[in-house]
C-alpha cells in the first residue's frame, strides 16, 4: 500500500479545515450583506417610533430590491417578531436600476449601504420586558457572475425609554 508523507497530509488537513465554512451544503458560505448594529431607539408612550436598520452590502455584490423586476427573483424583506409595538409601515430605500450581462432586462437592486425604516405605534403602557425588538432580514445576493444562496439574518434593535 502506498503511503503519503506527513507534510502533505498536514497541507491536506489544513485545506480541509479552511474549507469547512464552504462545505455546508447550499446554506452555508459567504454572507454578502451584514446588518449594522445601531443605537438604541427611544420609545415614548403613545407616540410613534422610527426604527432604522442599516445593511452593509459587500463590494461587487448586489441584493434584490424589495420589488425585483423579475418574478423569479427573491425580494429583500424585513419582518419583525411580535411585540407590544404595532408595526404601521416599513419603508425600503429607492432601488438602483442596473443592467447586468446575465439579464435581458434591467434589475432593481441595492448595493453598498442601505437603510430600511420601520414605523411602530408605541402603546401608552409599555411592559417592562420590552427592551428589544427582534426581526429577520431575508435577502439574496449575486455578483455579475454568480449568486449566493438566499440568507436570513437576525436583526436585534435595543429599545430605551
Amino acid at each position: 500500500m502506498r503511503r503519503y508523507s506527513k507534510p502533505l497530509a498536514v497541507v491536506l488537513l489544513l485545506g480541509l479545515a479552511s474549507g469547512a465554512l464552504w462545505a455546508q451544503g447550499f446554506s452555508g458560505g459567504l454572507r454578502a450583506a451584514t446588518v449594522v448594529p445601531g443605537a438604541a431607539v427611544k420609545l415614548q408612550p403613545g407616540k410613534t417610533a422610527e426604527v432604522s436598520v442599516a445593511i452593509q452590502i459587500r463590494p461587487n455584490y448586489h441584493i434584490n430590491s424589495n420589488a425585483p423586476a423579475d418574478e423569479y427573483l427573491i425580494p429583500t424583506k424585513l419582518t419583525w417578531g411580535s411585540s407590544s409595538l404595532q408595526l404601521t409601515k416599513t419603508e425600503y430605500p429607492e432601488a438602483e436600476t442596473v443592467n447586468y450581462s446575465f439579464s435581458d432586462k434591467p434589475l432593481s437592486v441595492y448595493s453598498n449601504k442601505i437603510v430600511i425604516v420601520s414605523h411602530f405605534a408605541v402603546p401608552e403602557k409599555m411592559p417592562a420586558s420590552l427592551t428589544e425588538l427582534k426581526g429577520k432580514l431575508r435577502y439574496q445576493a449575486c455578483n455579475n457572475r454568480a449568486c449566493l444562496p438566499p440568507k436570513t439574518a437576525n436583526v436585534t434593535v435595543r429599545l430605551s425609554r
Partner: protein, 177 residues
C-alpha cells in the same frame, strides 16, 4: 497516514475547497478547476437518485458511458439563466454522441417554481430538485451556477463556479466525447 484509495478523494476535495478562498473573496464566480489529467487522480462523481418533473427517477450512475454536464442552478439565479439556453443547445447537438445535461435545482420551493421555469425555457434534458445533503456530496455548492463536467467513466473532469464561457463548455464536452 492516508491510504492510496483515500488520497485521490482528499486531493480532489482540497482542490474543490480551494473555491472557499474565492468565497471569502469579494468576487465569487468565474472559477474553473480542471481535474488532474492522470486518471488515477480523478474523483468519481458522487452518485444520486432524484426525481424529475414527471416523477421518474434520475440516477447519475445510469449515465455511465455518457459525458454528463451536471449543473447546479436555481430559478432566482440570473447567471444560471444565461447558461440554460446553451445547455438546451448542447443537449440537442451532442445527445446522439453520448452526452447529457442533468440540471439540479436548489430552489427551496421545489417543483412549484421549477416546473414553470422548465416549461418557459423549454428544457430538453433531465431536471431534478436537489438537496443540501446532495450538494454536500459534491463538496458543497457555495454559489450558483456550479457545473461539473463528468466523463464517460463517471469521473469529474472539470468544475466551474459561476458563469463560465459557452465555448469553454463546448471544448470540454467535445474533448471527452
Amino acid at each position: 497516514m492516508f491510504s492510496s484509495t483515500k488520497m485521490p478523494l482528499l486531493i480532489a476535495l482540497v482542490a474543490l475547497l480551494g473555491f472557499s478562498s474565492c468565497v471569502e473573496d469579494a468576487t465569487v464566480g468565474g472559477s474553473t478547476v480542471e481535474a488532474a489529467s492522470e486518471n488515477k487522480e480523478l474523483t468519481p462523481a458522487p452518485n444520486f437518485t432524484l426525481k424529475d418533473v414527471e416523477g421518474r427517477e434520475v440516477t447519475l450512475a445510469d449515465y455511465k458511458g455518457k459525458v454528463v454536464l451536471l449543473n447546479f442552478w436555481a430559478t432566482w439565479c440570473g447567471p444560471c439563466k444565461i447558461e440554460m439556453p446553451w445547455f438546451v443547445e448542447f443537449q440537442r447537438k451532442y445527445k446522439d454522441q453520448g452526452f447529457s445535461v442533468i440540471a439540479v435545482s436548489l430552489d427551496d420551493e421545489g417543483w412549484e417554481v421549477v416546473r414553470p421555469f422548465t416549461e418557459e425555457y423549454e428544457l430538453n434534458f433531465p431536471v431534478v430538485v436537489g438537496t443540501n445533503e446532495m450538494a454536500d456530496e459534491f463538496g458543497g455548492v457555495a454559489a450558483l451556477p456550479t457545473t461539473f463536467i463528468i466523463d464517460k467513466e463517471g469521473r469529474i473532469r472539470n468544475s466551474h463556479m459561476g458563469l463560465a464561457g459557452r465555448g469553454e463548455y463546448e471544448e470540454e464536452i467535445e474533448a471527452l466525447l
